[in-house]
Amino acid sequence: MHITEQPIDVAALIAETSDPTCGALVVFEGIVRNHHEGQDVARMRYTGYKPLAERVLRELEEEVRERFQVPVCRIVHRVGTLEIGEPSVAIVVRAPHRGDAYRASEYAIDTLKHRVPIWKNDFYSDGTSAYQDGIPLSASKHDKAHT
């Protein structure tokens, strides 16, 4: 399960990925913040196309594990209406050493932002709302998110 409407249980992700071969654990959480491009944000609604989003995140986990030779990469993204301060995404990486874990975690979030069919709709404090402009999806999963 990679897409959830429930609050992300980061503690559970950490517990279920325990690995005695790994000396490094990097946890990244994306958090809903209270501003976007100069406007005050009151809350945010995430929507997604679940069939493809599940596949993309599953394949991204596999790619990260292979590319960075890390035993553990777990990614969970939340959809629904989120309040300020709530996590929208969590990425748990475990590796024998910290360098690989840091690099793998950064690659995972950067690539997720280019590939996963999920959309942010900002609800502003003045009562208006708007979808954030995003990054066009490519038909090729091998396009690099960054270099």
Binding site: T47, L52, I109, P117, K120
Partner: protein, 79 residues
């Protein structure tokens, strides 16, 4: 054929999904052309839209079954 909209496209189209009568073979591009002509609000979004059938991405030239569900995906902003 069923067409599903996501993200900003739901606002642009004014609906989350619609049905389109399709006879014979049609490509993804054929369907997008018809949407451009019949749903004016989508016009400026369609050049940046990606398409999927199920959990597979499809390209503009791919043929579609008449009973397929074509999913239109605007630029993404997850994370």
């Amino acid at each position: 054929m069923r067409i599903e909209f996501y993200g900003v496209l739901t606002e642009a189209a004014g609906v989350r999904h619609m049905e389109m009568e399709v006879t014979g073979r049609a490509t993804v591009q054929d369907i997008l052309d018809r949407l451009q002509a019949t749903v004016p609000g989508l016009e400026r979004h369609l050049p940046r839209v990606a398409c999927a059938v199920g959990d597979d991405m499809v390209t503009r030239g791919d043929p579609l079954e008449a009973d397929a569900t074509l999913v239109l995906l605007p630029p993404v902003s997850g994370g």
